[in-house]
């Protein structure tokens, strides 16, 4: 009887364990099925290289949304990568124990804050700050609902991802190496620069790529601060309309217009493919980093 229970449990477990792999596949197939309708009637260039988005007259140029996503993600990465890497180095190499114990929970809390709350914060602080104080410095008028605001909010959101992964990478660099470098007369920073960073390079790339894919798919917070105008942004003070925001904003009316839902599911499919690509890339680097550390 006990063995029988064990046997049944085993079968159930195997069945469930197949699920995660299957789920990735199912998501891909499901979204692809839905976007087939539009892929069948529109050419590739019409969908991805045109910037006119008028679903009601049957024009589905996704370019403004692709560019919007790219701009916002780029700004976020430029801001987030140096700050979070420097923080991670500080926490792992320099910080006294007390500071480390104090900062780690804060990073965890940042990771736990819901994206809508980030959005509210962006509307409260970042948008007015950029509209009233930053843009005028450059002599540009901006409402503040722009690429830069989106980038700033996103950057804060991906701090935890990059800090977390890099901290893990730095802690896998063995102590002996640091000691050797220090005993040869290198300063602490030189040790970090030439030993820790070089040894951890693959892992750092993985951390950055993971941050990138997080930024790429983030929806609500960005949606609330970037302005959502389907035009190609020309500067970081222009409004943009990222791909995830397009999806979230239009679910209500998409059923009534022909091909509209198909176009949106195509947008979701693009997001899925890009994120899958980034994730696989990051895992690849992480695995190599692990092997190097061993």
């Amino acid at each position: 009887m006990r063995l029988f229970k064990d046997y049944i449990a085993r079968k159930v477990m195997v069945f469930l364990t197949v699920m995660p792999g299957l789920l990735v596949f199912l998501m891909f197939v499901g979204l692809f099925q839905k976007s087939k309708a539009i892929l069948a009637v529109k050419s590739f260039s019409e969908l991805f290289l045109h910037s006119s988005w008028h679903p009601f007259s049957g024009e589905f140029g996704l370019l403004p949304f692709l560019m919007g996503t790219l701009w916002v993600t780029m700004v976020a990465m430029v801001l987030a990568v140096p700050i979070s890497l420097l923080t991670a180095i500080y926490l792992s190499e320099y910080a006294p124990k007390l500071v480390r114990e104090f900062t780690k929970p804060i990073v965890d809390l940042l990771a736990g804050i819901p994206s809508v709350v980030y959005g509210v914060w962006g509307v409260l602080l970042i948008v007015p700050l950029i509209g009233r104080h930053v843009a005028p410095v450059f002599g540009i008028y901006s409402s503040g609902y722009c690429v830069l605001s989106g980038g700033v909010v996103l950057a804060v959101m991906i701090f935890p991802t990059i800090i977390h992964v890099s901290l893990e990478v730095f802690s896998s660099v063995e102590y002996g190496l640091r000691e050797t470098s220090l005993s040869l007369g290198a300063t602490k920073w030189e040790t970090v620069k030439h030993v820790v960073l070089r040894k951890g390079l693959q892992g750092i790339i993985a951390a950055v790529v993971l941050g990138l894919s997080r930024a790429f798919g983030e929806t609500m917070a960005v949606l609330m601060v970037v302005g959502n105008v389907p035009k190609l942004p020309k500067s970081i003070f222009d409004a943009a309309y990222p791909l995830p925001a397009l999806l979230a904003n239009n679910y209500g009316e998409m059923m009534s217009v022909p091909l509209y839902d198909s176009a949106l599911m195509l947008a979701a499919l693009i997001l899925l493919i890009v994120v899958l690509f980034f994730n696989i890339l990051a895992r690849f680097f992480l695995v190599r980093a692990e092997r190097k550390a061993e």
């Binding site: 500080y90 994206s115 993971l210 609500m220 999806l247």
Partner: protein
């Protein structure tokens, strides 16, 4: 020469301290700004009443429907996700061989799932919903959020269960216990604090996520009475209130954001206390 090296060291050290300050400052700024801005609108009626007619035009009421809706949704999804992910994690750690291609692939899939943006889960949930002929409802929302929470929970539990010393399992086997008995009575008990933490992390994620339920849970001013009714969620309520042109309703969005942040902080505090409390019972 030595001077220049010293200067470089100091420049970078300063930059690092500044960066760390920025990261810490951001959390303080977020929590601070939301608390300060929400104070004028933060009334008890916010969390004890459902919206009266015209709430979104500035009339009386509260967001109880969204709070309850979010709790229903996140609890249902967390329970389902636990039922699905616990067997997966137990299988990976107790049954499958450590280096088998199957378990490597499953872990990899979980990592990939973890990275998929919630809006894509939303779209996928919508596809399933249409496929099954369901309407936007609490049930459809729960299914979607379950998928979203599954990888978060499974990965977190995997980390914990992996740490169980092999000797403990061997001892259990040698007493004649089957794998299942070892899994449930030894490993799960040993990992209880870790499992609870994983559950709380996933719950927090579920309660705060808006993008995945925007398609599937619908929105309603009433507290859902059955699984097939649409349910309001707190993040969406915040979003809709902020989107209105009325300043007093926007104020309420800030207040709702403060409520949501409060819930999240409570959950994270609870998980910290749980870890401390249960850590006594585990064998190291």
């Amino acid at each position: 020469m030595t001077g220049r090296r010293k200067i470089e060291e100091n420049i970078f050290k300063t930059l690092m301290v500044v960066s760390t300050g920025v990261v810490i400052g951001c959390l303080l700024l977020i929590v601070g700004a939301i608390i300060v801005k929400s104070l004028p609108a933060l009334k008890l009626s916010m969390i004890t009443q459902t919206p009266k007619g015209g709430y979104y035009l500035g009339k009386e009421g509260g967001i109880l429907n969204a709070i309850i809706g979010s709790l229903y949704l996140a609890s249902g999804a967390t329970l389902l996700a636990l039922l699905l992910s616990l067997p997966i994690v137990l299988f990976l750690n107790l049954y499958a061989k450590k280096t088998s291609a199957f378990s490597t692939f499953t872990r990899f899939s979980l990592d990939v799932l973890w990275g998929i943006p919630s809006i894509v889960y939303g779209a996928f949930g919508f596809v399933i919903m249409v496929f099954l002929g369901l309407r936007a409802s609490l049930l459809a929302g729960i299914v979607t959020v379950t998928l979203l929470e599954l990888p978060i929970m499974a990965r977190a539990m995997d980390e914990v269960i992996r740490m169980v010393p092999g000797a403990l399992r061997d001892a259990s086997y040698s007493l004649g216990a089957t794998r299942l008995e070892t899994a449930l009575k030894v490993v799960v008990r040993q990992c209880l604090p870790g499992i609870l933490t994983a559950v709380l992390i996933a719950f927090g994620r579920g309660i705060g996520d808006a993008a995945s339920v925007i398609f599937t849970a619908g929105f309603s001013d009433r507290i859902p009475a059955s699984l097939l009714q649409p349910a309001a969620t707190l993040p969406l309520a915040i979003f809709f209130q902020l989107g209105t042109p009325f300043p007093e309703v926007q104020q309420r969005a800030y207040a709702s954001a403060a409520v949501l942040t409060g819930i999240i902080l409570l959950i994270s505090l609870a998980s910290r206390i749980l870890i401390k409390k249960y850590a006594r019972h585990t064998i190291r």
